[in-house]
Symmetry: C2
């Protein structure tokens, strides 16, 4: 090709001149072509140069060592296996209707099961907690007003610690991933990251039992976040149509056995969980759209809404039966905020107050996240053993109960039973015929305390009660989230917000009862502001709160509270879920590339050198390559290559390690070796999903005979992978990667020759911390 | 490269053997490499072969001639212009906060303006209609019970026809694209198709005035669909921050001046329109997610929800002021369905009835679409002139009024005023002290008739009134939609559904008053079923109806009605908006590729031959190329090419015709010609957006001197375009194209040599009609 060579030589200096004068840092590899054809050393990616570039972004680049290698990516892009194309086409052809019906049946089952699980959790929590409080109340009554009051206190602490002990032992030994709310993990899963064990039945059981125990154990936790996790597990289980331990596997579910379909079902399950938790089916849909789903399309919205609607109504149906009025439905889920029917108006100055409360919520939320971050890092560093985790949880439980008891006794606020200030008449340590007003907050479950703050009449709390309760909630919630027990964060956040919101409302009421007649409205707005400031969602929270209160009119106030809460919070720290995700080393690909990415090119981000395979390759050679480089996919190349100059040959396909393992396991060697060879069928792939053979293990079991044979990858490789040019800006590489849900992206030059590879981890190394600048800098000094 | 050649020769027969034995049709171009290196003719794409392939899919392929060339694609992918990279980076750097604030300010303005416009439309419609009915009622009273009754009838017809005449004349002469509901066009715009004039202020004015006139002119139309269009125009106008006719253009808005940002604002505007129309902000959000947005991300959901919330509350605020109770908000928008507060329960057999009603809604909806399709094709073929369109609209208006009058007189149902059957006491042609029950349906606006059907007590209508009213509505709505006036379809569909739903409810009530005590519930479900059967939405309609009725409990019944309505309807015909889009020849890219696409490859779909440009090119040569091939973008190539064998050279970039035009207009010629040359800046691109210079026009004005110069495309071309391999399956090509919002996609072989191009139109030619099989076949026989 003499003409080509000449073109390159002519164009080369000119491009460099132009780009240089535009102030863009010049890299000779950018034309690619020149290097490999002329054979000079310009094409190499000099390490020093690359290091310089990285150090240029040093303040923003997160090193690879932070990303935990145990989390593997999921493959949302359907690979094209030439040998299976016909089967795929047949599968697609045979009756769309069958698949649609099967899908809706499954979604129905998912919704029903999630709703039913929520009912059981609700029923058990309510019953056990009632019994517990009745017993302790009885003992309080027996030992009223003497030093023996410490006996019921001791019993209370003992019961709580026992519950928590069982919960934490179960979590730590049975399913460690059941700890926490599960939302960070589900968010990562939907983002395309395989969190091990997160969708197993065992995890779900531990979560369900654990959350009942922790709520009854008096920890300041909610059961709403765990419900979302439970819904996801239900969905993942049902959609696969197989029970591994019994060897049962239904062929009709084959079309659902790939990462993309499973993800869509998990989205629906998560939404069903939200719907059951808050009685908010549309909120559930928006939750998966806003927080979870990595790619959204029309059908997914229907499926998700259907599952969450069914879930909410299953719960409502069961509850109506328990209430003795079957089919008489009331709004609400696991937690009910009660009806805010009287809120039908608010004034311009109230709206301004709401915006201010949003800002306060964002500030307190940022403080909460910052404290929790310190604690979480401490726990990660020092509380690594199982026993440490158990002691941690039990101690916090002990501390929570003792503190509650102390406040109940020391700030006791006894009132006559005729004074109808609340629906929660808790005698606690008061004389007969009176009740302790503080009991409505501390001698009850967090969800009921929330209702008291929302609905009790103005001036019904002593000011100092609320002034103590708000910091108590902040402190306890902060140390509790991150324990090794199933624990949701929604209720504690709402409670904290409701407490200071109520204080605000009472102050304004005192200031001008005509203009601010309703402190409960401020309690609700405070709750919204606080939750928004901690978890940093907007659309889904608005809809969840509107649906949970059953009042459409509240939409605007909640929204204009949540928007400042999120943006102010983001200025200081990231959201609490993102914080936990980052600290766990999970590589979450955000929605949009950071604005500074336009200055980077694929070249700057890609990993190089690359391990490439030939189209036909001896097993022995493969063995050597793979043992040194346990990657998950390999580019298959042909033609001239020159690894010294970072040219790895012309890209003709990609093959995943899992498929190679399957080929070797099924002894699908190259027929040209002269021996008969089997062929892989779609069923082989189906049987292998999702617990593929590990390539390393398979290679270790290969016989000496087979070692001499070779593999022909062409029929089983993805022969038309997406690839990008070395020159493409990170912004566009990011868009491709994110929107198509890729796992590996080969980077090629203008001759389609492999230069590098980009994986999810490469993208996440360039997480420029768009949020949390201040806190990041602060903490980078502390550690 | 001897090694490469050998690899090819060895691998070639083997691949063919393998793929062939898998039943996949073998194409020698698939290896690509072999052809161009060895120089044989295997690499050509034989025309006969391609024709054979197309005829294989003949039943499913829509010919190119159906796609109207006047609709151009939008570019949602941000092209990379090397010369502007630094400016782009600076723009992104300077203060994210400024952009966030500006964005929310704009969204606030959009919401306010949309809400205010809705208020004005609502107020004017109500006032004018009231005055009209008062006048006619007065005349009816004067001429009661004699042949002179024809005088008020004549006046009624005259007023209506006059209103319609003004509306249609204005539409036809001022803004023809203002006709119809505007939803199909907005859907296309959001999908990435530039519908000319659709977002101009003139169109919006015509739409707003027109919809008032048509509603007051007695046509069976709604003002809700047009409201969505109006919201979109408001958003598009505000977001660009420039008034072209005054030459005003604010530089701070520069970051919003590209197709992708504008699309996101239009999404928010459309949602604001829905919110104002139905009082459903969340419904608005879901409407854009389900129907409109071509790519959804987190930030878009917040922005959209914010705009629609503001829009709804602006309307509510103005209405509360008009009602004399400022800041006292009530749910509802332009149309209010009234409160369904008493609906708190439904039984299992009622749920089954709802599913059945959904099926009926789907069937009637399919029939509606089929009839309307015949009519629309007729109108497209024969009513092409302006006068024909005017006569059409006025005639239909005449006919509607005369028919209403006839029913009012002939089926007159006079009742005593003491009988409180309704809130709509319309005397019409009854004696004094009595009112005509039929008047509540026909002597009022469609929106109020809907409320009567929803809320009037059981048995309050004569059965035969409803039996006549339902087919009347079907017939009139069907002939009305498609007229050259602004007209929405939501209200007519709801009215039709409410009519037959009410009939169903009354029948069931007669059958068993204990089990089915509430026909109005069935009216609502019928309305939902019918609307779903015609427009084929699920999630957004559910939420819109829940929000408009203010009753969360209705979620499940509405959803399980809408799901069968959609799927049954889709079995027979496509949705009415899609039908109108297809008949208009707009190329809408659906959400997912058809399942049969796995059998096709990029090779089968791409357009070839391709017009390619050199990196440096004389203007004269460009002139010749461009005049024969007025494409919108051209691949820029280097190196060896062999067009006889469909090899167009190695892809090094893409450049759009608009940018070439800009270069020539600004005289940015190749500096190597020896003369000084200006450089393009970001401002030049900004000034040119969105009404770019036409390349043809620019070339015609080039002086003879300039003709001798050359253009260097490299600094201004997109130097890292997305490209796909010839072998990639259509399913994956489709995903890339759809999710990244591309406009052009070059197809390359394994050597990165251009083989063909895929554009939006190529994708749409392979629209396999997943829905509407039966009807398509039926109609293909009729025409």
């Amino acid at each position: 090709m003499p003409s080509q060579l000449i073109t390159n030589i002519i164009s080369f200096p000119q491009i460099s001149r132009l780009t240089r004068s535009n102030g863009i840092r010049f890299r000779r590899l950018s034309t690619g072509a020149g290097a490999s054809v002329t054979g000079n050393s310009d094409g190499s990616r000099s390490t020093s140069e690359s290091t310089a570039r990285l150090s240029f972004y040093a303040d923003t680049v997160i090193g690879e060592e932070v990303l935990d290698q145990k989390y593997e990516g999921l493959e949302y892009d359907t690979p094209e296996v030439p040998a299976l194309k016909k089967e795929m086409a047949t599968l697609a052809h045979q009756g769309n209707w069958r698949i649609i019906l099967l899908r809706f049946t499954l979604l129905f089952a998912i919704g029903c099961t999630t709703g039913a699980t929520a009912t059981v959790i609700d029923f058990l929590t309510t019953t056990i907690c009632s019994i517990k409080f009745v017993i302790i109340q009885y003992l309080f009554g027996e030992h009223y007003a003497s030093w023996t009051l410490l006996i019921p206190a001791f019993v209370w602490v003992l019961i709580n610690c026992l519950f928590i002990l069982v919960a934490v032992v179960m979590t730590v030994f049975v399913a460690p991933v059941a700890a926490g709310s599960g939302i960070p993990q589900i968010k990562c899963y939907l983002n395309g990251l395989n969190v091990p064990f997160i969708l197993r039945a065992r995890t779900m059981m531990a979560k369900a039992v654990g959350v009942i125990l922790t709520v009854c154990g008096g920890l300041l936790v909610g059961k709403e976040g765990p419900m979302i996790h439970i819904g996801s597990v239900v969905a993942a289980g049902f959609s696969q149509g197989r029970i591994t331990c019994f060897g049962l596997s239904l062929r009709s579910f084959r079309c659902f056995r790939n990462d993309a379909e499973k993800r869509d079902f998990v989205s629906a399950g998560a939404a069903a969980g939200v719907a059951a938790a808050f009685g908010a089916p549309v909120g559930g849909l928006l939750f998966t759209l806003e927080e979870g789903a990595s790619f959204i399309f029309q059908r997914l919205t229907w499926n998700t809404l259907f599952a969450s609607m069914i879930s909410m109504f299953t719960l409502a149906l069961f509850r109506s039966i328990i209430d003795g009025q079957p089919f008489k439905f009331t709004p609400g889920g696991l937690v009910s905020f009660g009806m805010f029917e009287n809120v039908t108006s608010y004034n311009a100055y109230e709206l301004m107050a709401f915006v201010l409360m949003g800002i306060i919520g964002g500030l307190i939320g940022a403080l909460f996240v910052a404290f929790n971050r310190v604690l979480t890092k401490y726990r990660q560093s020092y509380l690594k053993t199982r026993s440490a985790k158990i002691i941690d949880a039990v101690l916090i439980g002990f501390f929570t109960t003792v503190l509650s008891f102390a406040i109940l006794v020391l700030r006791s606020d006894c009132r006559s039973l005729f004074q109808k200030d609340t629906n929660e008449f808790r005698q606690v340590v008061c004389p007969n015929g009176e009740y302790n007003r503080v009991g409505a907050l501390l001698f009850t479950t967090p969800a009921r305390a929330l209702n008291a703050l929302f609905h009790d009449p103005p001036r019904s709390f002593n000011d100092d009660t609320l002034f103590i309760f708000a910091p108590y909630t902040f402190f306890i919630a902060c140390i509790t989230y991150g324990l090794s027990v199933p624990c949701g964060l929604f209720i504690p956040s709402l409670l904290l917000g409701a407490a200071w919101g109520r204080v605000t409302g009472e102050l304004l009421y005192g200031f001008s009862p005509q203009n601010f007649p309703d402190p409960s409205k401020f309690a609700l707005i405070g709750a919204a502001a606080q939750l928004g400031g901690i978890v940093r969602m907007i659309a889904s929270l608005t809809v969840v709160l509107v649906e949970a209160t059953g009042n459409v009119i509240l939409g605007l106030p909640v929204l204009i509270t949540l928007i400042p809460a999120k943006y102010i919070g983001d200025y200081f720290t990231e959201g609490i879920y993102d914080m936990h995700i980052n600290l766990s080393g999970m590589a979450l690909v955000p929605w949009e590339a950071n604005t500074r990415c336009v200055q980077l090119r694929a070249l700057d981000v890609m990993t190089s050198p690359v391990v490439v395979l030939d189209t036909v390759m001896p097993v022995r050679e493969l063995y050597q390559l793979v043992f040194d480089n346990p990657h998950h996919a390999f580019p298959v190349v042909e033609g001239h290559r020159d690894p010294d100059h970072f040219n790895y040959g012309r890209l003709v396909g990609m093959i995943s390690a899992q498929h190679i393992a399957l080929m070797i396991k099924k002894k699908v060697y190259n027929p040209l070796d002269g021996q008969d060879t089997p062929r892989l069928t779609a069923n082989d792939f189906d049987d292998a999903y999702p617990r593929f053979y590990k390539l390393k293990n398979v290679l270790l079991n290969v016989s000496d005979d087979e070692f001499e044979r070779s593999l022909d990858f062409r029929p089983y490789m993805n022969h038309a992978p997406y690839s990008v040019s070395v020159d493409m800006s990170m912004t566009r590489v990011f868009a491709l990667f994110r929107r198509l849900g890729l796992r590996h992206l080969p980077v090629v030059d203008n001759f389609n020759q492999v230069r590098g590879m980009i994986t999810r981890k490469d993208l996440c190394r360039f997480r420029f911390a768009p949020a949390g600048k201040v806190a990041e800098r602060l903490f980078s000094r502390i550690y």
